[in-house]
Amino acid sequence: MGFRRLIDSKKILSLFAAFTLLGTNTLMAQTAAAGTDAPVDKGAMWLGVGYYVLLFLLVCVIVAVVGKILKIYDLTLKMQGKKGIQWNNIIGVFCIVFLVAGLYGAYWSFTEQGTQILPESASAHGGKIDMMFWVTTAITMVVFLITQVLLFGFAFKYRGSDKRKGYYYPHNNTIEKIWTIIPAIVLTILVVFGFFTWREVTNTKEVKGDINIEITGHQFAWELRYPGKDGKLGSSDYQLYYTATNMLAVSPKDRNSYDDLKADTLVLPVNKSIRLNIHAQDVIHSVYLPHFRVQMNAVPGLPTFFKFTPTITTADMRNRLDDPNFNYLLYCNKICGGGHYNMQKVVMVVTEAEYQEWLAHQKPYVNDQLKKEWQLAYGSQVKELTGKRVALNN
């Protein structure tokens, strides 16, 4: 037998021994801090690769030995005129054990990991989305339980036997109609529920007092622009992008730009309708604010927006979570390059007074350097345009 010859081969065994010896530190994992003074976590040190290979081979040998024992046992039974191992029974029992253990595992997972899901919604529409989520979860859980119990329950109950024959039952139109119509009705309810919520969330109606904020994604950061006292964001023209000073391609031809502000943190007043105007400069990014149940792609050449109303201030949320370091975060949720995983922005939700105070301390987007650049580029035309309005902000 080839396999036996392989096991007996001294050359192969010697090779394994040499391979194990080679499982030295060069093959081991090290902490990223290795080589510095940082203490090394001995508990997490990896053993050599050879160790894992040998461990795997040991498991294979154990499996092979168990297999051989079963085979001998089976043959012994047959020699005694008995039936041999009844695999249908064994697997049937496995099915029911899996069902019970699996359902317990799912329950455990819900109680352990499920407690960490859906961070408390901090936006007005978030509550509606969450309610729909829980309704859908309840419905799907019932279906999940019924179908999995039936599937594995039938596998156990109707496990094969020589004494029985299957029940010839090719169809039953009534039953089939029932389990076509019931899912259709349930899904219709979910569709209607979802459709109205979707309509509400994507409502584009202009509301007086909407705060327009521009957020622009590029590899690998977000840039913010707030409107000044006029409450309007000046338009931008990507073809004007030529220096790092005018990263957002703000147009000198639109007077609304002149009092716009630039910011490092996305600060939002609580209970005010926010309209995020979303842009991208290079590739597709995605504005994702899980606490606010907000997500919208940032697409170059296709400005998008998302309207929402934050309802819980950062300070409130820190109290609720008893975590003084908590911050809302904005992620990039669309693959955009090597730094994609680290493209974040801190979001602060504050009271109206705090917001106004913060706003007063922000620097104008159109600063002296940009004005100079515009004058160089457009000469007297821009001088005339920028004139007084820029001064208002200084």
Partner: protein, 629 residues
Amino acid sequence: MSTLAVHDHGASVHDHDHEHHHHDTFITKYVFSQDHKMIAKQFLITGITMAVIAMLLSILFRIQLAYPDKTFPLLETLLGRFAPGGRLDPEFYLSLVTIHGTIMVFFVLTAGLSGTFSNLLIPLQVGSRDMASPFVNMLSYWFFFLASVIMLSSFFIQKGPAGPGWTIYPPLSALPKAMKGSELGMTLWLISMVCFIASSLMGGINYVSTVLNMRTKGMDLWKMPLTVWAFFLTAILGILSFPVLVAGVVLLIFDRSFGTSFYLSDIVLNGKLLPYSGGSPILFQHLFWFLGHPEVYIVIMPAMGISSEVIAVNSRKPIFGYHAMVYSLIGITTLSFIVWGHHMFVTGMNPFLGGVFMITTLIIAVPSAVKTFNWIATMWRGNIRFTPAMLFAIGLVSFFISGGLTGIFLGNSALDINLHDTYFVVAHFHLVMGSAAIFGMLAGVYHWFPKLFAGRLMDEKLGYLHFWITFICAYLVFFPMHFMGLDGVPRRYYAMTAFPAFNHWLSVNTFITWAAIVAALAQVAFLYNFFHSIFFGKRPTQNPWNATTLEWTAPIEHIHGNWPGEIPTVYRWPYDYSKPGHDADFIPQTTPYSETMTSNLPHDFEDNPAGLEQYNTWVKANKPGEEVK
């Protein structure tokens, strides 16, 4: 061109043995073979090779996720510049994710699954000597092989393979300077996919024409096994949707290489203004998902067909609701063309359109539910024989339930706002199409192994070991991911260390990685079993599972032409298992009703007045007073 061994693909009478016409050399028999069975084997072995590669790639990126703050000098030894200092380069991480997804979706679950079983089973189950065009069929494999080589070759170029994700959204994929994975690797990806789609179309056209034109005598559409129905509808899906992706890909090549702006506009990259205007990246997404969503069904429908067959055979019962199963497949096929927009709820497309796509998406759950309930009903009061194939088919149904239900969340546009592109999506599709389709494929391999590798069986005990470890580990890997997604953890992140909020998922990530490693190791049992059994597997009887379908009437040894002499005639549907009044618990499709009078039922003679008359004559003689009108 070599002489074709097949002279008449129809149901006409062949009085001679086909074998004597073959003058096969090693090359024409094993390499450039035109025999559908050999082509099936070529697809399967290439698919398995690609699956092993994709699995190893996933282990690499899972190690990164489990140990984001550790270095592994071995990685640098193996991967060189892609893992400087023993840690994966973040851009290479994205390449690993991209190629893992691409290989699994296209090269394993489309070509490996559909290519193998459509090729093997369509001619054998409809009673045809080969595919409609064996030469084109051979080309379809070699284009697939070429596509695989090109895709893998991208690991050996300076900047590495494509990295913009398997969905290759522009501008990331259209701007070579956007990242390392957008350079030559991306070009190779596109060329590989064009070859792949050519292969897929050549295969698909063959499958459709064979099913429509080359069925044996008596094999009407309602006598076709559900496998054939599934392969047939899958081929139609592919033929109608893949060309749209080709169009999308060609335009992308133009944008990348010839300065056009189909998908590009208003772009400033690395501080440099690029001369693109008027295009839209969203156009690509529409074109991509017009294939991309049917692709999900291209992947799962053959697996559904296989599981339907395997469940019926091993439950020793007719599949419950055969007609409903076919109509559900047709329903899924039709609806799958009008749901693509649910991948784009948060792209900024018109919200009204989003609402429409939500409705169509959720409707598709109805035929899916019908199929699930019918599988379960088939097992009810069965006499279930737990072959490894049956276990994998049960596993498929379990995954399809778990993963399918989460589709209801993602298809709901309002809920998708919070779940889009998070680990919830990863969990959903890995269960519903990844694991389920892989299990369908494995069920098929175990079940039809004697037809693939003339007269050998795979070892059952190793099959059990393979199933239970893989099944449990697949749940351990993907179930916790739902919760990560619901906590807002985005997918495709190289490391979570930048976000203190996600730190508590590190232990879960480590656990998932180890479950994935154990699942990968369990595949060693399969690979050993598979290759060992090809040469040393037990020799079964011609019909080892006591199945009714036509492939088990073909001789154990492969001959090009499938049946010596006449192709058998079909008289009945493929699911006459445990029919009352019949001694054996199965009646092959080739057994005429005149030979099974004791077990005939009145509806067996629908549209067959001559048969009904014959039956009534028999009833009059044996059971007077029970005639059927």
